[in-house]
């Protein structure tokens, strides 16, 4: 651990769902394909299915119309139905990168509420790892590939009805 002050760039989101904690966990993981945004993948062809393998060490990947598969995540912590953590194996160039030291991660917690609903807390953190050797995200800005990939994603995402000012 270095004493270097890192700015906290984590994205944190919470949402409350009308379902018990077991069902919420299962829907989020085993049924990922039923809700995952279709355009959000790094494959070369349109996505047909989004898969999360429900175990520690499980893969997160997408299947595509051309028969290919594209890995984008790895389950690193699996504690159903309370929480799981997945390494987000996409690097600063928006390519698959299996090196956990260079990728961000997502933790999702499922907290049962007294009224039978479940609060889902999501944290996407360690974006700084995506820059080379903890060099923050400077690389994202300094390399054309980083920017181009991001801009393409942005363009696609912005065009797909992300509403201005939306939030939780």
């Amino acid at each position: 651990m270095t004493a270097q002050a890192q700015r906290d760039t984590a994205v944190r989101k919470s949402i409350s769902v009308r379902a018990g904690v077991e069902r919420a966990f299962e829907a989020f993981t085993a049924d990922l394909d039923s809700w995952w945004p279709r355009e959000h993948h790094i494959g070369k062809a349109p996505m047909t299915r989004s898969v999360l393998e429900c175990r520690a060490g499980g893969r997160c990947y997408s299947e595509h119309e051309d028969g290919s598969e594209a890995d984008w995540g790895l389950i690193t912590v699996w504690e159903p139905p309370q929480r799981f953590v997945m390494a987000w194996l996409i690097d600063a160039n928006w390519q698959y990168d299996p090196d956990l030291s260079r990728t961000s991660e997502v933790e999702v917690r499922f907290i049962a509420q007294a009224d039978g609903t479940t609060r889902v807390d999501l944290e996407h953190r360690h974006f700084e790892r995506m820059g080379e050797s903890g060099n923050n995200m400077r690389m994202m800005v300094d390399t054309p590939a980083g920017w181009s990939g991001l801009l393409q994603l942005y363009a696609g995402f912005a065009g797909k009805g992300a509403e201005p000012g939306e939030g939780l």
Binding site: K13, P37, H124, F127, M137, P164
Partner: protein, 106 residues
């Protein structure tokens, strides 16, 4: 009138502005240099640059009698912004799905 260009996402919603950002990968450029690559007027380029500046994607600096525009490293907040929006949308989709199926059992 809405001024929603303070967000990178909105600023990048325009193809010319995305192209300007792409050109700036090559290094800092003046308005004149940028304008040469586009079939639009210098004032129009300046207008796009102002929007990109407002969104913190681009910074400018005076160099002698020239003003150079370059990418702003702080623009990496763009990424955070992207995921912030992505997860808002994904979680809402998740909520809609689970509540639809839960409701469907009754």
């Amino acid at each position: 009138m809405e001024t929603n260009h303070n967000r990178p996402l909105d600023a990048l919603g325009d193809p010319t502005r995305r192209a300007i950002v792409e050109r700036l990968f090559e290094g800092p450029k003046s308005v004149g240099e940028l304008a040469r690559g586009f079939p639009i007027s210098r004032p129009a380029i300046s207008q796009h640059l102002r929007i990109l500046k407002d969104a913190n994607l681009v910074a400018d600096q005076a160099l002698g009698n020239r003003r150079l525009y370059r990418l702003n490293p702080e623009g990496f907040d763009l990424l955070r912004d992207y995921f912030d929006r992505f997860w808002s949308r994904a979680l809402q989709a998740f909520k809609n799905k689970i509540e639809e199926t839960e409701g469907g059992t009754k």
